[in-house]
């Protein structure tokens, strides 16, 4: 995937977020998942190697699971708190930095200024 998708995705998410926040508040959960995954994907787009894409997909899947469970358990006092603390917070605490270190690209971020 090349960097030309960056502004298109960013603009679509920005418009979607504004519309959701005003008219469709129930859509903010899925939009949050998409926005965070897209933020991780920003820097992966246009890289010579695609080794970070599985990490981005894993983060998106975990966020979707965490937010979905939180929404499901919102009226359950102990289960809701436990889900949020364990699944959304504690489980990824060591995993995400480890994923970053594993997918760290020594080649650098590549072209940043439109150089040929």
């Amino acid at each position: 995937m090349d960097r030309s998708v960056v502004p298109a995705v960013a603009a679509a998410l920005a418009l979607g977020w504004l519309a959701g926040a005003v008219w469709v508040p129930d859509a903010l959960g899925p939009l949050t998942v998409l926005a965070v995954a897209a933020a991780f994907g920003l820097r992966v787009a246009g890289r010579p190697t695609g080794r970070a894409w599985p990490a981005v997909a894993l983060v998106a899947a975990w966020l979707a699971l965490g937010f979905g469970g939180a929404f499901w358990l919102q009226a359950q006092p102990f289960a809701g708190l436990a889900w949020v603390l364990v699944v959304v917070f504690l489980v990824p605490l060591p995993v995400v930095p480890w994923l970053y270190a594993r997918s760290f690209d020594d080649a650098g971020p590549g072209d940043l200024e439109g150089r040929p």
Partner: protein, 484 residues
């Protein structure tokens, strides 16, 4: 008062140490680009975690319960996200252009107009965020240390100003790292002690469930759209906070980034223990009738008084460390924006280190005056300050640095549009739908402006090619900007 006197003496020592080492602008504003991942990680987290975490966070738990945690639930992601999205390009571009601060980098990449807009935002945002810390210092003085709030705010900010003005980020980085270690250890100790005082985690939660069960659902007493909005604001907002981005300029090499997220995340998780531990314990103690709290900001002080004088002292030291470490970064960034970016944007020579020192003192004084006069709670002030930087700078740091076609004029317009939308919506915050967070709305509008103007036809007014690096059409050679 003894604690504050000791702090001033220690600050004077750090100032003396730093003043002997901060000789060039590179030393003063970027700690000489010589720090490793551990130093930057612990110091960066100390600068990131403000008094908001110790005072505002537990107070917010009292009001909204688990809903308040959505502000910090993105902590597992933010270290990696910052390094991936901002850290990697910032380290690369800072080396290429010789930039020392986030605003200089914007200038080197996008030209004068963008640099001027970013500098104005940084000055406003840093003074406002410094005011949050001054406000927290006032709460600290009145609630923890038994001294008048104005005196506590003035002394705490003065001590920070002293070493920041004298030694810049050479002194600031060292002080932040020590303060970070203290903050993490004290946060864990206070969280544990508070939960024990409330009868243990199980009894504390049971007490809350009996009195206010709605606080313990996944979103507590907060509407889910607002919880998601706060999650996103404090997740993506880390990509736009000048004091977060500043730490990448201190790194000695790009390879340090590999382990930085683990250090950032670990230090942050330890410090956030106080939010959950004191929040849960304090809310339970209030439900049990053992604490009387009139305002959310009074929860942490009330819990500490219940624990005993040792806890009051430790909490006072931790809050002082938190607000000083955060304030140091704000003072330094605002000084750089005033003395280097704004003159450069007007075509004048960048100010000297001496000018930076003078500006630091002026900004510190302004923060104290604004902070002690504000009637808002620390939590509300913290969210507003964070949102302003997010609205103005997220498009440029997240999209602009990832998209080679982003143009200078479009970046300047996006910064202005984002800041204006945030300020306009903050003025009517109480009437907004729960999911419409002003900072995110500003960032969304700024993103649309950036994309629309960069894609559309550009007039010479919007062109920033003349300030671009070699290799871009019409570019010029980069100049070393550290004055060394």
């Amino acid at each position: 008062m003894t604690v504050l006197a000791i702090v001033v003496v220690l600050a004077a020592g750090v100032a003396w140490w730093g003043a002997r080492r901060a000789r060039s602008a590179s030393d003063y504003f970027a700690a000489g680009h010589q720090a490793g991942a551990w130093l930057v990680g612990v110091a960066g987290t100390a600068a990131a975690v403000s008094a908001f975490t110790y005072v505002g966070g537990p107070g917010l738990f009292l009001v909204t319960g688990v809903g308040s945690l959505w502000i910090v639930l993105s902590a597992p992601l933010t270290g990696a996200l910052q390094c991936r999205v901002v850290g990697e390009p910032v380290v690369e571009l800072a080396r290429r252009h010789g930039a020392l601060t986030p605003t200089e980098l914007i200038g080197a990449r996008f030209g004068r107009a963008a640099r001027a807009a970013a500098a104005l935002v940084v000055v406003i945002g840093c003074v406002a965020s410094g005011a949050v810390q001054a406000k927290a210092a006032a709460v600290l003085g009145e609630s923890f240390l038994g001294v008048p709030g104005v005196a506590a705010a003035a002394i705490a900010i003065l001590a920070t100003t002293l070493y920041t003005a004298a030694g810049g980020m050479r002194a600031g980085l060292l002080a932040d790292a020590v303060q970070g270690g203290v903050m993490a250890a004290v946060a864990l100790a206070l969280a544990g002690a508070a939960l024990v005082a409330a009868g243990g985690p199980g009894e504390a939660l049971a007490a809350i469930e009996r009195a206010r069960p709605e606080l313990l659902g996944s979103f507590g007493a907060m509407p889910p759209p607002r919880a998601f909005a706060l999650y996103l604001l404090f997740c993506l907002g880390t990509l736009a906070q000048p004091h977060y981005i500043q730490k990448f300029f201190f790194l000695r090499s790009r390879s340090e980034l590999r382990r930085l997220p683990a250090i950032l995340t670990g230090a942050l998780a330890a410090m956030l223990a106080v939010w959950l531990g004191v929040g849960v314990a304090g809310t339970a103690l209030a439900a049990q009738g053992r604490l009387a709290v009139a305002r959310p900001d009074e929860l942490t002080p009330a819990v500490m008084r219940l624990l005993g004088p040792w806890a009051v002292l430790l909490a006072g030291i931790a809050v002082l460390a938190a607000l000083m470490s955060t304030t140091a970064s704000f003072l330094n960034l605002a000084a750089a924006a005033l003395t280097r970016d704004l003159p450069a944007a007007l075509g004048r020579a960048a100010g000297s280190v001496t000018a930076g020192r003078a500006a630091t003192v002026v900004i510190g004084a302004a923060a104290v005056v604004l902070g002690v006069q504000s009637e808002r709670t620390v939590a509300l002030l913290g969210v507003a300050g964070w949102g302003f930087s997010t609205a103005a700078l997220l498009p440029v740091f997240a999209i602009g640095l990832a998209w080679p076609r982003a143009r200078g004029g479009a970046v300047a317009a996006a910064i202005a549009a984002g800041a204006a939308v945030d300020l306009a919506l903050e003025a009517v915050r109480s009437q907004l739908p729960p999911g419409l967070e002003p900072g995110l709305a500003g960032a969304a509008v700024g993103t649309l402006v950036l994309v629309g103007l960069s894609w559309g036809p550009m007039t010479p007014l919007w062109s920033a090619r003349s300030a671009r690096a070699p290799g871009t059409p019409g570019g010029r050679a980069p100049q070393r900007q550290d004055g060394s």
